[in-house]
């Protein structure tokens, strides 16, 4: 671990970007794939997918714990980084927060690069 004097700051450390949204309807697990940085989600079949529509959505505390367990295992296996459980809207895998929606789709200013149609 980096100690105080060798600490190097990366954006994610000084942003409260993963605040929870209380109105959310479910949880999904996400991160960026280590080798290429691509945004990935834990899928229902236990694999990792780049398609948010395939994400495994959980609505219970046990389900959320399972998502965290999968993230933890993938992080320890050096498969993904910046792991997080994020909120979704009710009854869909659409992320609740705009930030996560943009992560799922791509930059809103480059529709030509979009991974899926915007919601």
């Amino acid at each position: 671990m980096a100690d105080e004097n060798t600490q190097v700051i990366e954006p994610s450390e000084i942003s409260a970007h993963r605040r929870s949204n209380k109105a959310a309807g479910g949880k999904i697990a996400t991160g960026n794939r280590l080798r290429d940085g691509v945004v990935i989600y834990l899928a229902a079949n236990g694999e990792w997918t780049t398609d948010v529509d395939q994400a495994r959505r959980e609505t219970t505390a046990d389900g959320e714990a399972a998502l965290k367990g999968a993230l933890d295992a993938a992080f320890k296996a050096n498969y993904l980084i910046d792991a997080a459980v994020i909120d979704t809207v009710p009854s869909d895998t659409k992320p609740a927060r705009l930030r996560e929606q943009i992560r799922a789709v791509g930059p809103t200013v480059r529709p030509d690069l979009a991974r899926r149609a915007n919601w």
Binding site: A2, E10, I14, S15, N32, D36, A96, R103, V109
Partner: protein
Amino acid sequence: MYIYDKFDQTIVRERVAEFRGQVQRRLAGELSEDQFRPLRLMNGLYLQLHAYMLRVAIPYGTMSSAQLKKLAYIAQTYDRGYGHFTTRQNIQYNWIKLEQVPDLLNDLAEVQLHGIQTSGNCIRNVTADQFSGVAGDEIEDPRIVSEAVRQWSTFHPEFSFLPRKFKIAVNGAARDRAAIQFHDIGIQVVRGPEGDVGYAIYAGGGMGRTPVVAPLIRAFLPKAELLSYLEAILRVYNRHGRRDNIYKARIKILVREIGAEEFTRQVEAEWALLRNEGVNLPEAEMSRIQKFFAPPPYEKIAAPVVAFEQARASNPAFARWVETNVHTHKVPGYGVVTISLKPVGGIPGDATAEQMSQIADLAEKYSFAEVRVTHVQNLVLPNVKQADLFAVWQQLGKIGFADANLGLIGDIIACPGLDYCALANARSIPVAQQISERFRTPERMKEIGPLQIKISGCINACGHHHAGHIGILGVERAGEELYQITLGGAGDETASIGELLGPGFKGDQVVDAVEKIVNTYIELRQPGEEFLAAYRRVGKAPFKERLYASA
């Protein structure tokens, strides 16, 4: 421009090889993310929203056409065909794969470029006036001293673990085009009482969550003693800058807490100890560097240039572009061309591989193979003959970069914002696009006159909103993007911090708010009075009244 010697080239090559090994060990699981992250950041590799982002340093914004060609190649080969020029005169790639980074860096090293010290708590890429060496109002080319500072600060062991990042800017002209008073150290080339060239030193400026205009801490520093003086400043900061709180770790907080006078006293005391310790650059090395920045072989051109004058007279669109985007060159018969990377509705600072490649060709053919990046996210061809301006303009038109909006309302700075950045709270680019669409006609832009809009998607202020005549800061409120508007900021020699007008606006209300501000200005201005001058005369009351009264 400066060409690496074997030492420069060797350290960059060795760093690429070292990082290749580190990437291999990370991918093999031999390094943890906690171990690896500081290593990748030291090479300019961040993780952003969609992928890794690589920031490549363009020292003091000067590059050769061959370097720009290589940047185009990188965009094409390793990214999605484009790059983003930043307010630090750097370029960022948004879609980088970690496993390809060692090869990418190896390719960059071929043209003496890298991502070293574009991240982390070290001395970052030195920035300078983009018109260095060609501006008529210049005392001395600031790139000479910028290069000296680059060499001194590269891998400087004492300053590799500062309390926080550290940014130095150099300006050599009367007009400050490098925003030096918003830097940790700002160096202004000046003439001393005896007419000799030296430097005025500002310290402790910055933007971010605590914007500060740097105080002048030394009115005149002899040229030969610059590095020892910089070292003294860095030492005082390294010793007393706060490491317990990231928000209070920049030098601006230290200077503010102990006061500019006490800070200066400590710097002078430190300097007295080390000014004769061999830190200063030997005269021979300084003149070695200086030779790299010798003027190119300009032709002697008789005025007026008839073909140029005729083209200007017969083509109003070309005449308008010359008026806004071509600056007076110190050599008669030449012009300094700024290529606006701000087409109407475009993404400020973005350029495709094809556009970069074409601009590199133009530089090669018309500008002694040299290109500059500006902190306003534009590119410059510094040495174009007036006789060639029409051809250059026509070819820029073919790649969509002939917009005549430099310094006008369409010439907007915008950080990547929430579309790309892991730090952002709100999007910046769509706001810039809406504004440039709303004020798209040349007539409207001309009516408004010089007006700088700068947009940041979070408090860290990469979009320089504090220094915008109109500054826009995106925040997040209850899950929604909200934009605060400030007025009266300036990043030039009259540096000032914009004042917050009032409550923020939703994304779809910002452009209307900007238009109300613009219309208020047009109604109250005196003949010939520019936006900033008018604001400074009347203050924020009339703008505030107009903006919030009818809401």
